[in-house]
Symmetry: D2
Subunit: 361 residues, 4 copies
């Protein structure tokens, strides 16, 4: 079923952008796991709209509510159900454009898929708002990973044509990502990225970005070839996030013009452990973790919802027409994708790690 | 389980590079489906090693054998099991390097994952040879798709630094791909790619490539958000192919520096159908097909097995040492990935299309 | 994951007996399906506690709440989430017996399974109250089946030593089952069953029962051998209902002393359709529906929670001790299992029927 | 997919009664597990036809063949594929009756399910011969369980009207079951059962039976409520075996006329462990093992293939007609179901036990 993800740690997402709520049911939390709900709230706060002039002005408090699965602050082994209510809802524009699909949006495809019965208000299940569910589940997963010494870090390395050109340390990401408005660990580049976004915003336009994600502390031997390689499972999850167009692990598309002798990461010993100096493999060999950090990059497209006039078709009359998208939209969804990609990665890792239990290794 | 893929059309892969065979069990073929085994054989022939000086010299006839699931040339509804035998096996080198993982290879990671019990001979389940199973299943899937008017085309658009710079028509791909040694539809560029490969081969080195894949005739409304978007399921499958490092749908990573007004594909009417002029979406909006061709590109890394001396570690003695990989290897696995990516895509599409049966639409 | 059931029509159950709510997320409703929530409410009312002197005195209104998945009274294709709140909760007794597992109850086994972290209040996820989730999902499934002309009927055919000895028509079940306090279609036998229950209740004891379930209107050709035979999937579901100890299809255990010549149901033609006079097969041959009504019987054990003094062990001190179960319990859970078995069967049938879509046949 | 079973230990069955082979792909064997193929052969020998005058006279050597997944006698972590070839095949009778479904057989239902394209020769996938696949996988599972101290015992406790009336010890079952022609641990009753079978055989008829199965050494805390209770998963599997009509755990259908005070098994301490004197629970409370032996009984119907003349319908002409089943059939399939039920139970238990890894407990 397509609203569920995972085998040993499984999430089921529900809700709609303009319905009562957005929520998630999480199965497979180990019983007795301490859950700090303030950390879930903090993660939601990092994703939440209306935080600065470069994000949508929809105002949602996004207070997390727990429906089941916790007793005395600890998981019971039963599904943990979390949700946030939708409060600041204005569906008027969507009633207007019900029959005129927005270019670059899911409208047309959804209309075919659900025979016209999908919830079109605010994008329904295709809204970026659904990612609140990823973030809640990710905040739970993060706490499970933390106990195993595993950490996931993400930040924006490129927004439009502005990109980071130097090496960024893990410490920088950890320290800066959520103080930067654009979720970029280099605070200088961060400023330029913000300008880039404000420029396109003024034009009634939007811009894309690249997010880099790193997983630290992952033990070697995680991943299940042939079909549940780490890349397979991670990419499956990441492409479930709205707006993602590409993913590359380690060297990614740069591998193409490299020679094998450049691309192979030679092994050596460091403190009795086998490591590599370079990490073109992105921490993954044969679909399995090799003990180095897992590294991947994600391309996020420019927001489809722009104020410029665009060509479309009226589905009822089957006639060409024009549309100008109103509503409250982010000029660069890549920025708000950062905590979502981080959360999504945490979810996948708990699932992969539980599949072959840590103790087994 | 990680050796199976699919929901309605499910494959389970078995076998090893130097074991008795490589095979696949296919569940979910509609009963009564005519299967032309000569087409399976032809697909295997297109993938098979030893075809030219730029592929491995391992000689395998790869004659397809049917174990079950067919009666009088038609599927019965029971699992269709197909296999090819391994004949030209030489495991001597692998006995030698059992404890010295090859850089860029699965050896080390597999050793951790399977506690040292994996079949290391010829790369075991990590061998490119396993892709024969993808090809057999893909050739079955292709016949099912053909009846629905769906066609999958793939070809190499870049090898090392040589890339195609012009638009290639679907007809060109169909006509040229398997006459080109390097599986590139532009026969002129094809020649330069071959030179590129021969050059690195002479150096005892290897090179990567980019494969483009197109799906024609896919009806709108296929794909299952949130988690089984077309991109999610396709990328899951594609990253199961050895050597894949990146994937991009439609505009892929190029989307990043585009503005929303450039990236959105405007809708218009053509012969009563809703179409787009550009295809930055790659035929997919909100994870669902929009009726345009599905297009994606895959980055394949340079072959890890190179003749040059490389640094590694002896796992038994935990000492650094050097290794020179012998054996029969392709200098550019991207070339042989073409029929595999094509096959893998066919498998995914049958699964996605059956999930919401064609008739339902 | 063990809180989910189904492939094409999938339910995920959440909540606890003494937590905030009991709910269910339903995936796979065909988009555009009209859902009458008053029918869901009616089904809940049929299951609800406190209805007569032979059921528990816990008072719950069990008003159904919809969290997502419906727009204008029709399903959207997104998960349909339904829940009832827990209002009349008294956990005091459960704090007392936290360490003294009740004989015949899940307490001890749950303690082992969840390392002592399960929600023990009111039986937690093992409470009969969880069946409200089955009933809500079943009421949705029932509406989908109704459109296909499929109907599910269940009633009690034995309570303790009182059993129905004559043939009961489908019409009788439909008419009488929910007017009978004990959910038995024969209103005379019904009275005797009630007496049987009141007798054991007075003794502080409990009694078991047999529920018969019939599925009418099921087309031939439903069911997925080898492993998803109708019996396999139905029994899987039915044994998820608390208190079920046995199931038999058609002749059930009576088949043992029959000869093949008696047991085989001969085929003949009636109005151009192939039918059988007897139905020892219970409408299922080779795991597939044969067009006759599906019939099965379910044995439900006597309620474990009895007022009599029983021997148990104090888990903390590891000492033998005695327990007298307080709380509000049904003297015969078989009675309240009737709408649950009906609901559970509806859920399974929608799943099985969608798996091979009706249109495919 | 319906030819696969299991989550952590998954089997996929393939082949047909009169095709090339019957086989099984097993995923999820822990890497490094020693597999003694002579034990697989021994299990096949116990199931194999043609062993005595009360079984079918089809002669099959059923020599096990290994296609993949083992290196140096140990599992590698890749799918273990095992098969037996079909040698003694005579399909002539099945060509004759292609259009006249045998009463009590899958013929008619299969015809609907597979639109007439199923392999009808020798019953195809509905043949008892498919259980050779269960037995091979079970023999692997048994070796995994043996290392954990878990043992599965099954034997016939009733054949037709002959039933065992005394308590049978585990030791008796272990010692006698495969020396008894009818797979009954009481050798005296065994003789009477044989007579019962020979009597009906002489009449050209058949008879049913009850098989009891016990699981010894199962740790408490195994089983995954709500939906993957031990009863749910076991019954799902057991009803996949041809001819099964009913199952009861512990007291089974006898629970109905018992009072709670009789049915509840009181806890007491024995050698520091919590045990029960009676075992009405059948070792399962709330769907989870409680540490006592798991006990269940299975009703197997009389063989459908009988020599007596029976009424049926000609599907081509849609006319009533008569059929006399020829071919080589067992007069009592319950007898040969014993090793199959044993095998099937082993498969389920490995899956359930691995799901929450032993180490976790």
């Amino acid at each position: 079923m397509s609203f569920s993800f995972g085998k040993s740690f499984k999430i089921t997402i529900f809700g709609e952008s303009h319905g009562a709520c957005v929520g998630v049911a999480i199965e497979g939390c180990p019983p007795g796991q301490e859950i700090d709900t303030s950390l879930i709230q903090k993660a939601l706060d990092n994703r939440k709209p209306g935080q600065s002039i470069i994000t949508t002005q929809r105002r949602e408090k996004d207070k997390v509510e727990t429906l089941s699965g916790i007793l005395n602050g600890k998981t019971t082994g039963a599904p943990l159900v979390l949700l946030v209510r939708n409060k600041d809802v204005d569906s008027s524009f969507y009633e207007e454009i019900k029959n005129t699909p927005r270019p670059g949006h899911a409208d047309l495809a959804a209309w075919f898929r659900y025979n016209g019965f999908h919830d079109y208000r605010g994008g329904g299940i295709f809204s970026g708002r659904m990612t609140a569910a990823f973030v809640m589940a990710g905040a739970v997963a993060k706490q499970i990973l933390a106990e195993k010494g595993i950490k996931v870090l993400a930040h924006a390395i490129q927004i439009g044509n502005v990109r980071i050109c130097r090496e960024i340390s893990n410490e920088e990401i950890e320290k800066n990502v959520y103080t930067s408005n654009v979720r970029c660990a280099d605070l200088e580049v961060s400023g330029k990225m913000k300008e880039e976004i404000l420029k396109v915003k003024k034009e009634g336009d939007s811009v894309g970005g690249i997010i880099e994600c790193r997983v630290l502390g992952i033990p070697p031997g995680i991943g299940n070839p042939i079909f549940d390689s780490i890349e397979s499972v991670l990419s499956h999850m990441i492409f479930s996030i709205p707006g993602v167009k590409g993913i590359g692990f380690g060297s990614g598309f740069d591998c193409v013009s490299m020679k094998g002798s450049e691309h192979n990461d030679p092994f050596f010993l460091k403190d009795g452990k086998i490591v590599t100096a370079t990490n073109n493999a992105g921490g993954i060999l044969g679909g399995i973790s090799d003990g180095m950090p897992i590294v991947f990059r994600v391309a996020v497209k420019p927001t489809s919802s722009i104020m410029k006039l665009q060509k479309t078709v009226d589905l009822k009359r089957m006639k060409e027409c024009k549309i100008r998208v109103r509503g409250r939209h982010d000029p660069c969804i890549a920025v708000r994708a950062v905590p979502v990609i981080e959360a999504a990665t945490c979810i996948v890792l708990v699932d992969l790690c539980r599949d072959i239990s840590f103790e087994d290794k």
